[in-house]
């Protein structure tokens, strides 16, 4: 994957497949002495047993019956580890799953975040009935995109109206660029 936001899209698709009704994505950059990026995706889906959770980033393990490989989390792990970071999965049946990737965003082999707005827009559009909360922080500056708040404002107008999706995509793109302003990634 060429962008971290594509990994996020892929991981959230897993949450949606696991029956989640609420998915929280947290992205936190810190550019202190040790530049660090933490990406967490937490859902309230059906969760996994410790045995399954321990094997999700094994590319030759999948619960699917239609094929024998499951590459999504394995690729995300590789992306994190190549940039000096780590990857872990917490899960509990009936409670949900939390996937965390940490890496050095300034590492030579770090993959850029890419089009986070595009990922958010596509997820909102293709996951009806799932509440998606995106919270991004960069050295204290932050913003939140929350479908529950958007739904409240929109009233009868559906969230997946193309014009609304275009707005939400830009909303995330602009706010994300704004919090990164002045950082080494700007």
């Amino acid at each position: 994957m060429e962008e971290l936001s594509l990994h996020i899209l892929d991981i959230v698709e897993n949450s949606v497949s696991a029956g989640a009704t609420l998915v929280e994505i947290r992205i936190e950059y810190r550019f202190g002495e040790k530049p660090w990026l933490t990406i967490t995706v937490r859902d309230n889906g059906r969760g996994m047993s410790p045995e399954v959770a321990g094997r999700v980033s094994d590319p030759f393990y999948t619960t699917r019956t239609t094929r024998k490989v499951g590459l999504g989390t394995a690729l995300f792990r590789q992306t994190a580890e190549l940039a000096g970071g780590s990857f872990r999965v917490w899960s509990e049946p009936g409670k949900g799953t939390e996937v965390t990737a940490e890496l050095n965003p300034l590492h030579l082999d770090a993959v850029p975040m890419g089009d986070l707005g595009g990922t958010y827009g596509v997820l909102v559009q293709t996951s009806p009935g799932v509440e998606l909360v995106l919270h991004a922080v960069c050295d204290g500056r932050e913003f939140t995109a929350d479908t529950r708040q958007f739904r409240e404002i929109l009233g009868d107008v559906p969230l997946d109206t193309p014009e609304v999706i275009a707005f939400l995509t830009e909303f995330v793109r602009e706010n994300f660029a704004e919090i990164l302003r002045g950082s080494p990634l700007a």
Binding site: L9, T66, G155, V157, E163, F167, E178
Partner: protein, 127 residues
């Protein structure tokens, strides 16, 4: 920068256009493969362009949705078009430009672009 006040303005604008719905029978459902294979091959910009084109042309009878891996990862990004009473059309190796052409030729004019379908791709592979 986009603000929530702007979203309110958009809502008021959209409210007037609501209720203009086509008959269910001329509904077209367009599905984009969004599993790991699809995403890695470029499904996100394809889905975004598809949504933009549908919005731009005001195609109220078109629904855009996603699906998982359908087992032809080497042909991703894959887009399937479902129309009532017609055979499903499977487009493969889609790009932003190709999907824009599919919207114009297939969804608007009703002529599937055979060249971009899986049948054409498989025939080419055999040659």
């Amino acid at each position: 920068m986009k603000s929530l006040a702007e979203l309110q303005a958009l809502r008021d604008q959209m409210k007037d256009q609501m209720g203009i719905r086509h008959d269910a029978k001329d509904n077209i459902r367009v599905v984009v493969g969004m599993a790991t294979c699809g995403i890695a091959a470029g499904a996100r910009p394809v889905l975004q362009r598809l949504t933009e084109e549908v919005a731009k042309r005001g195609l109220k009878n078109v629904t855009v949705a996603q699906t998982g891996c359908i087992g032809i990862c080497q042909y991703e990004p894959v887009v399937e078009v479902f129309e009532n009473g017609k055979e499903k059309v499977t487009y493969v190796k889609m790009t932003e430009d190709k999907i824009a052409q599919v919207v114009a030729e297939h969804l608007v004019n009703g002529n599937p672009i055979v060249e971009y379908t899986i049948g054409a791709a498989q025939a080419e592979a055999k040659d």
